[in-house]
């Protein structure tokens, strides 16, 4: 990454800077880097899955390895790629959008990242330590309790650590948006992406604890012989499914809502038009989030909950189509009458509309409980959620990367390469997944290591695999684009897209304190308002004064490391009690860091007024 400011420093200094940073912009970059690596890993696993399914009864990989592959693909993509990439974009953009100098808890922000990173590394270490988890990303109780080896233990420990980090991120963003908005930035003037960050964080806050408890129960059953899911002792595996989906359904909205916000910003910016029906968009987002907590059992239509429960959850699920429909039509109406510029960021947003609409269609179809008796756990479901998660989340992340890359790194991603990436990925995506709707209905259940010969499934699977290669090619072009841009990319101005929101009012990349003076916000799309009135920058909302900043700290990294060691000890203590040393040692180390943090006073520091005055002068020139 080319950061003109850091180029002059040595590698060691830059590394130390990133290891100790509490700056939301750098943490955003770290999240993108970490999430990006796991995205490539998850993608590689996906390609291996598709190669295994290229012909019937293939033996490219063994049955056990295949189950590890699907489990790790799902887990990695959702927890280690999707969410961190989103948290990265939120970190990079949200504080700027609401006109804040940083998040409420910069230290927690760094801690959240390092917990995610160490959790992710722990989970992936399982590949080298006797086998990855193999009970599916849902890790349903009966199989996950019985499956031998340490795979599922890695799943539990890794997700507990990474999940704690995510929860911290969520709380942090909520407090930031409640407390740190710039003068005049009322709730109903916030850009949709910030709104979506706020609502998503609330979802994280109320959804993740259910997963935490569920993983605890599973862990106790596996390691300490408790009886939560042991039917012989009165346990019940359906509890696992309920708790999992009470977390899991909001989780899919955690993955999509931030991108709904992002697309709203992108459509408005590149149509040069105010978002159509802003208020309706905000309330539709809230309604989707609320309904998201009410429909978890639609993942369990075939569990045998009875017709009453199935009917209630079926109707509830279909109801989500209404606020989602409002959003789609409002986006179209935003472009209607606008001046639509089609560049890479916008291409991804435009590609999202038909793709996500198909995902939404099949979502409603899946909500019809009796129809779901056929769809459930088949490739139809695989197709559906890839249309939603790839068509929504991944398209959105690509759009967001193209949109904010200049803000984050000071250079604009290459347009031609961006368009090649989009078309390769878009075509590959539909090739891979559209046919899978039919494969599912033709009798191909999901999580099948092989499909049998002579069952009419050969051609569909072949097409699907070919599509996966296109997506791979698209991703490789994107990686090339990143490298190309770092060296030869066009240097970005503060406002390369004729933007509307506050992040475009500061230089690209922004100074470490974001704003010399917090801006005065006078309405929705504050920068656009100023530009329409002939000013090229925001009016200050506070007098120029010393700016308080938090100190960098190495403790978050050390705490993550401590929990990582404790996690390893935890997994292996069942084999050899010497591992208790790692367990308690790691715990003690992390708690020690916590005590150091709480006992040692850290008041931060002040940037003197003079330095800011100088910066302002420089900008004026």
């Amino acid at each position: 990454m080319s950061l003109s400011a850091t180029e002059k420093r040595g590698f060691g200094a830059v590394l130390w800077d990133f290891l100790t940073t509490v700056d939301h912009k750098k943490i955003g970059i770290l999240y993108l880097l970490g999430g990006g690596i796991f995205f490539l890993l998850g993608g590689l696993e996906a390609v291996i899955i598709r190669i295994q399914l290229i012909t019937p009864e293939n033996d490219f990989i063994s049955a056990g390895l295949y189950n590890e592959m699907i489990t790790m693909h799902g887990t990695t993509m959702i927890f280690l790629a999707g969410m961190p990439l989103l948290l990265g974009l939120m970190n990079a953009a949200m504080p700027l959008q609401i006109g804040a100098r940083d998040v409420s808890f910069p230290f927690l922000n760094a801690l959240g990242f390092w917990l995610f990173m160490f959790g992710g590394i722990l989970l992936n270490l399982s590949w080298f330590l006797g086998g990855a988890p193999d009970a599916g990303w849902t890790s349903y109780a009966s199989l996950a309790v019985n499956t031998p080896g340490h795979g599922v233990d890695f799943y539990i420990a890794g997700l507990q650590i990474a999940g704690a980090g995510t929860l911290m991120g969520g709380i942090n963003f909520i407090a930031t948006i409640v407390n740190m908005r710039a003068p005049g930035m009322t709730y109903m003037r916030m850009p949709l992406f910030s709104w979506a960050t706020f609502i998503t964080s609330i979802l994280i806050l109320f959804a993740f604890p259910a997963l935490t408890i569920n993983l605890f129960l599973l862990m106790f059953d596996r390691m300490f012989d408790t009886a939560f899911f042991d039917v012989a002792l009165g346990g019940n595996t359906i509890i696992y499914q309920h708790l999992f989906w009470i977390f899991g359904h909001p989780e899919v909205y955690i993955l999509i809502l931030p991108l709904f916000g992002l697309f709203s910003d992108v459509f408005a910016t590149f149509s040069r038009k105010r978002l159509f029906g802003y208020t309706a968009m905000v309330f539709a987002t809230m309604l989707i989030a609320f309904l998201g907590f009410m429909v978890w059992a639609h993942h369990m239509f075939t569990v045998g909950l009875g017709p009453v429960a199935n009917s209630i959850f079926a109707v509830g699920t279909m109801a989500i189509a209404v606020p989602t429909g409002i959003k789609i039509f409002n986006w179209l109406a935003t472009m209607w009458g606008g001046q639509v510029t089609i560049n890479s960021a916008m291409l991804w947003a435009l590609g999202f509309i038909p793709t996500f609409t198909i995902g939404g269609m099949t979502g409603v179809m899946l909500g019809s409980s009796v129809a779901d008796y056929q769809f459930h756990d088949t490739y139809f479901v695989i197709a559906h959620f890839h249309y939603v998660i790839v068509g929504g989340t991944v398209f959105g992340i690509f759009s967001g990367l193209h949109y904010w890359w200049p803000k984050m790194f000071g250079r604009i991603l290459n347009e031609s390469l961006g368009k090649i990436t989009f078309w390769l990925f878009f075509i590959g995506f539909h090739l891979t997944f559209f046919i899978q709707h039919f494969l599912g209905l033709m009798g191909m259940p999901r999580r099948y290591w092989v499909f049998l010969e002579d069952q009419g499934l050969d051609l569909g699977n072949l097409i699907s695999t070919v599509g996966a290669f296109f997506m791979t090619a698209g991703t490789i072009v994107f990686l090339y684009n990143v490298v190309y841009t770092a060296f030869k990319g066009e240097v970005a101005s503060a406002d390369p897209w004729d933007g509307r929101t506050l992040e475009w009012a500061v230089s690209s990349p922004p100074p470490y304190y974001n704003f010399e003076q917090l801006p005065l916000v006078r309405g929705l799309d504050p920068l656009w308002i100023e530009k329409m009135e002939g000013r090229d920058k925001m009016a200050p909302g506070e007098p120029l004064d010393d700016v308080h900043m938090p100190n960098s700290s190495f403790l978050p990294f050390l705490m993550g490391l401590g929990f990582f060691i404790a996690g390893l000890g935890f997994i292996y203590q069942v084999d050899n009690s010497l591992w208790y040393i790692a367990l308690y040692g790691g715990m003690a180390f992390s708690i020690g860091c916590m005590i150091v943090r709480s006992v040692k006073d850290d008041h931060g520091y002040y940037i003197p007024k003079e330095e800011l005055e100088e910066a302002l002068k420089k900008e004026a020139e």
Partner: protein, 207 residues
């Protein structure tokens, strides 16, 4: 070490815990954290309710629980909530000594509660052979009560750290929010205990 004179004014404001942005952030963050904790306990309550009759031939809640001890524990914890309110009252009056005194009493009541809980568990294990491996009911019971006990333990450790660290410094704008968030957390634990008392013990005795 950096030093911020703004945190140590001559005259403390009337609500020192909310006087700084840092304090407001802490206050807000803790509230949301408690929101998440509510879901955590809700998940445990759900599990417990689903499994409370799955005794697999082992002792049932009716046979096990003795309400006298639990009543004593409830009283201790509720009183500790009240004493922490006194502590916060004195903090707002800038009376550091009295605040420390009441916080100390709060901590002692918490320790008393924990001792009773340990005694209760020991009693079940030795006299009834009722462990968290006995049945799904056993697992669920120890999970929910144990999780709550764990929260109390954490709260006491937190309190001790706070009291020891600030014993000689007195009150300022830097540590006031810390005392305040502790007290909020402590109230939350009490509220959860009221639910544990009702759902686990009272309802366990009735059925």
């Amino acid at each position: 070490m950096s030093y911020d004179p703004a945190l140590f004014p001559e005259e403390l404001p009337s609500e020192p815990e909310k006087a700084t942005l840092e304090g407001q952030n802490k206050f807000m963050g803790l509230w949301f954290f408690l929101g998440g904790e509510t879901v955590l306990f809700a998940a445990l309550f759900g599990t417990y309710l689903a499994l409370k009759n799955s005794t697999a031939g082992g002792p049932s809640s009716d046979e096990l629980f003795g309400l006298e001890l639990v009543f004593l524990m409830t009283m201790m914890l509720l009183t500790s909530s009240l004493t922490s309110v006194y502590a916060m009252y004195h903090m707002r009056n800038h009376d550091f000594k009295k605040m420390q005194l009441w916080l100390g009493i709060t901590g002692l009541l918490g320790v008393g509660f924990l001792i009773c809980e340990v005694y209760e568990f020991a009693h079940y294990i030795t006299d009834y052979g009722f462990t968290f491996r006995s049945s799904a009911f056993g697992s669920a019971f120890y999970a929910i009560v144990g999780f709550h006990g764990g929260h109390v333990t954490f709260g006491i450790c937190w309190l001790i750290t706070l009291m020891v660290r600030n014993a000689k410094r007195g009150l300022n704008l830097y540590n006031a929010p810390k005392f305040n968030t502790f007290s909020l957390y402590w109230h939350f634990i009490d509220v959860i205990w009221v639910f544990v008392f009702t759902v686990v013990y009272l309802m366990g005795k009735v059925t």
